[in-house]
Each structure stands twice: as structure tokens, then as C-alpha cells.
Amino acid sequence: MSTLHTISILVTNEAGVLSRVVDLFSGRGYNIESLTVAPTIDRNYSKITITTVATQEAIEQICKQLHRLIPVLKVSDLSVNEAIEREIVMIKIQPKDEDADKILRIAEVTGAKVIDITDKTYTLQIVDDEKQIQALIELIKPYGYKDFVRSGKVALSRS
């Protein structure tokens, strides 16, 4: 059975490492749902977080293969144990005048922040887990939106 997996990969921070990692997924025909990468506090290393839909066996194999890459130090499948996951979403909305208040109220109850206002648009930001983000999206949908972006997940294991 295929499920969503969040894989955290610690790599050396050097040119070409990301493509090596991504190649492993594309080479096996797996679609990457989301991908984030940034240096760790020690800038010699980077943390890559990938979410992908695959069977447990496939994920195990991918994790082993990832481990085989020379610049990869650590691979963990965060779906196995409890993990804290967060994602940033920004939504730009151009509400009708009469809807503006409702938008602000939605922001308030979902914990989203208004991070930019122009004469025609509001931009909301939410930093949360999948469930809350989906909730916000469903609430906003009826009012329409101009633009939308999500960062891709970052995650840490709880233990």
C-alpha cells in the first residue's frame, strides 16, 4: 500500500548533491511531493526534507540507496515514528469589499497571519501542519485567490 512518507536526509553542503538525491527518486519513477533544502547550523552540511508517496518496501529501498550516496550522512524516514512537521503557505487574495472582513476572521481562527496588504490584495501566511493548512485552504477557496505557494514540509523527529 502506498502512503505519504517524509524523509529527512543530512548531506554535505556541496554542488551536485541535491541532484544525486533527486535522481534516485526520478530514476525509479517516484514523484517527489515536496522538497526543501537548506544548510544546517553548521554550514558544511545541509538538511533535505522530501515527501513522497510510495510503499513501505520502496521507501526502505530508497533509504538504503540514499545511504549509499557518498555525500549522504544520515537518512531517516520520519513517518515511522512521531514527527513534528511544519510548512509555510502564502495565499494572496483579492476579496470583494464585502468579503474582506470574513477573510480577516478566517485568518484569525486558523492562526494565519496577514503579512502584506495592498489596495487590492491581502496576503496570508500560515505556518502549520498539513491538517491546519488544508483547513485554511478550504475556508479560503469560496472567496477565490490570486496566487498560492507552499514551501514544502520540514520535519524533525520528536525523540
Binding site: S19, D23, E60, Q61, R68, L69, I70, L73
Partner: protein
Amino acid sequence: MAKEMFTGAQIFLKSLEAEGVDEIFGYPGGVILNIYEALYNQDKIKHYLVRHEQAAIHAAEGYARVSGRPGVALVTSGPGACNTVTGIANAYYDGYPLVVFTGQVSTEQIGNDAFQEADIVGITRSCCKHNYLVKDVKDLARIIKEAFYIATTGKPGPVVIDMPKDVLTAKAAFEYPKEVKLVGYNPTYKGHPLQISKALKLLREAQRPVIISGGGVLQAGAHQELTKLAQLLEMPVAHTLMGKGTYPESSLQSLGMLGMHGNYWANFAVVHADVIFAVGTRFNDRITGCLKRFARDSQVIHVDIDPCSISKNVKVDIPIVGDAKNVLSAMIKELSSKPFTIDHEAKEKWLKQIDEWKQKRAIPECPSDKLSAVKVIETIYEYTKAFKPIVCTEVGQHQMWCAQMFKFDEPRRFITSGGLGTMGFGFPAAMGAAVADKNALVLNIAGDGSIQMNIQELATCMDYGLKVINCVINNGYLGMVRQWQEKLFNKHYSETKISAPDFVKLAQAYGAKGIRVEKEEDIIPALKEAMESNCSVFIDFVVENFEMVYPWVLAGQPLNKVLLSNDQKVC
């Protein structure tokens, strides 16, 4: 005092020297002229100028397979680099250590579609163990050190180093690093003691055990340990194509090769075993047959240095990640530390059962009165075995017949392309073998199709006095493909009939020796003449066109559905 400065080209050579490399295979071009200039001014490293870059890589692999040391090749950018890809992939799949140096356009030109630019790091990413683009001459020595380390440790494999032209002309001080620091690379050598104990318990209690010995045993130099353990526990041994020579085939406990064209009894032993002890094999589909039916009723112990190989295809009950030599020695040590019992009676019964299966053999049948390929290969084996030849093959029917007919008691004598199955591998690999062991009798048993893929290397052999005896099994067809067409596509021989030049005349045109054999009684005289020749030889064995390789497990069938002859359906 100011340190002495060297160009990248000089550092390249000094680093090879530091690695103990004295022979390389290569082909020059614009961006690596500085290296060739540096080569010109020294005599420590011998360069073999091949006729095609693919052959340089195969030759380096042949060299590595025979010597146990990494093979080294040097080629130019763009077309030169692209020509190496098949060779690199071949070494990757069979796990042999290579360090391949490619030239690259200058760093400031990279990415600008410069003349003869190719992103070889991108192109080879999925078919090598690791690769590097050197961006600063100061990194060159360290990268070379790392490359040799990575290529030769863990599961060996090819490493590519791409060297831009300006890096080769820039200068730096030279100090060859004493050690490598690679935080992300720590191959596991020692098997987990608990797993080893568990495995031993299972093996001691086994009634019908069988060992599958793969190329990893050869790589680890663990053939003696394997032999010892097999004796201690009275286990029969089947080998994979890559594992040939890891267990003495003259031994009674040897089952020979298993798999698609393996021995009937080897396949049956694996199917009926209660415990399968697999060492250094990836469980390729050519040896498992239908995966769902493989090892359905047996427990599987799997030793491999590459964690990726374990439970990839076959679900394993006791995985042991580690180097075969290390793990097998640990097992022998534990066994020898205290008395143990095994069920001799059960083992005897098991071996007797296998003996019964041994009566079932493929009966070679030659459909006409033409020379039989099987007969030719058998005769070559019988005649040359006293000389302990290194036997290379190309890919196809002749390869499988060689694997079936040639018996080896030691490793590194049988050289064939397994994982990738690369036609055109055999001849250049044989050339590399001849470089690695200058006194050995080197044979390349070739198909008439395969030999035409790298036949140009005869010129290289002639230049350097390398002697390879090419035995062309000339059946006028891409025989292995034709065999599938005969069985599975109603004898529609679509694009498999293939012509060839007159190999005798062709050999002569290169200044080599050419002999044609059409009759059985001429086989041995031709071999004699070839062995007496002081240069490379082509023997054109004109054989029957429609011979088939049996035993044969059709792709996707379980291992015990073995066909033994043309008219048999499934037994």
C-alpha cells in the same frame, strides 16, 4: 622556503604514482593535452593507446578483474567522455574498481555549450559509484585519493573524475593525502555477531542447505573461507555467473552454475533447500527466476557488503551486512571454538537426492552436420585447461556455453559481463587481462556479433604485443536473441541474421594471425597453432546456425521449470 609548485597535469601523474598505478588505458584529445605532455616526459606510467574509449574502460576492468587492483583510464572531454559510459556502467553493475579520468572544458566555459563539452558528471551519475568535477587544482590530489578509496572499498565500483583544462594547467603544491575523511562513507565490514550466531544455528540445523556463492565472494577474496565453511557444514555450493571460481568446480559438493542457463540440479537444489545461504550476490532475476516462487519454502541467510542488495528482491530471514571474508571467517571461528553437531544423515540423503537430479542433463544436439558450438567450446576447455587460461567471453549463447562448460577451481580466471551483459566487452577486457598478467594464456570466446563491437582493438594488441586468442563462435546470428525468437516468436528471425567480415583476412590485415576451422578434427590443431603464435589470433569457428542453449528457464518462470531440449515443453 617556498613549496615547489606543480601543474594539475603533473599532480595527476604524481597522484597515480602515489597510488602505485603503473599502467593506464587511454585516448588523447584537446583538453587533456597537458597530461599527455606530462606523460611524454616520464617513464613510470605506461599508457596503452586504445582505438575506442569504450575499450579503454573495458580493458581497465579486465585489468582490475585479473589483478585485483583498480583499473585506470584517461580520456578527453565530450565525445571521449561519452564513449566511456557503457564501460563505466558495466563496471558498476558487476562491481569492479575503476578510476576514470575525463577531460573537461575550462571551468569558465562549463555550461556554455563549449566545443566538446559534455556534462559527464551528470551523464554518469546513475551508473558510477561516485563522481567528481574538480574545480580547483588544490583539490585534485585529495579527490584522486578519495576516488581510489571509494572505488576499492565497500562494494567496489567505478569512480569518475572530470578535470577541466584550466585545472590541469594551474599550479599548486603537491602533497598526497595520507588518509581520506569522508563522513558520509563508512562501509560495514564486520558482520553483526548476533546475526552470525543466528545464521550458524540455522545452518547447523539445516537438513537441505545450499550455498549460493556470488561475485562478492571473489571481490572479498573469501573463496577459501567459503570452501572451508561448506566443508565444515557439508553444504553443497551453487554459484552465480559472477561467482564462477569462488568454489572449486572440481569438488563433488559443487553444483556449478544456477539460474536461467544453470544446471538443472543446481536449480532444483535451490528450490528444494530448507536453508539458502547466499553470499555476495544481488539475487539478480537471472538466478532467481520468478521471484514470487523463489525460496518459498526456505529460510534465507544473505551476506552482502551492500545493504541495498539485502531484501531488495528476495525477502531475507537473516540479513548480515558485511564483507564476505570477514563474515565467513567469523563463522568459521565460532564453529571451531566449540564442538558442534550436524545431521550427517540428513546431509547425506540431501546430497544423494542432488546426485539423482544430476542425471538430468541437457543433451547437446546439433541440428546439422556442421560443427557444433558446444563441441568447439568443450574442446577448447579440455585442450587449454592444463595451461590455466584466463577466459573472457562476449555476450550471448557462446557466453552461456562457456559458463556451463569451463570449470574453474580458482577465482579471477573467468571474465564476463554479467549485470549489464555488454556485447563488445570481452575483447578489450581480454586485452586488459593480458596487460595485468603478461604470462597468462588469454582467451576471448566470442560471438560473431559481439566481436564486431570492439574488433578495432586488434590494432592495440598488435602495437603492444598483447596476445589474445579470439575464438569466434561464428553462427551467423545474434544467436541468443535468435534463440528467443525461435521459441517465443515463431521463428521470426527479425534482424538477427548478421554478416561478418572474413575474420581470417581481417586478422591478417591487422598483422595478426587468422585461422578458420570448419571440421571437428581441426579444432585442436588450430588451438595449437594459435598458442604457438607470438601475436594475437582470430580463430573463426564456423558452426551450426541453430544450436540452442539448454538448460533454459524461460524468463519469468520459476527455477525448476527447466527446459532441457527443443521438444520438451516444461518438466
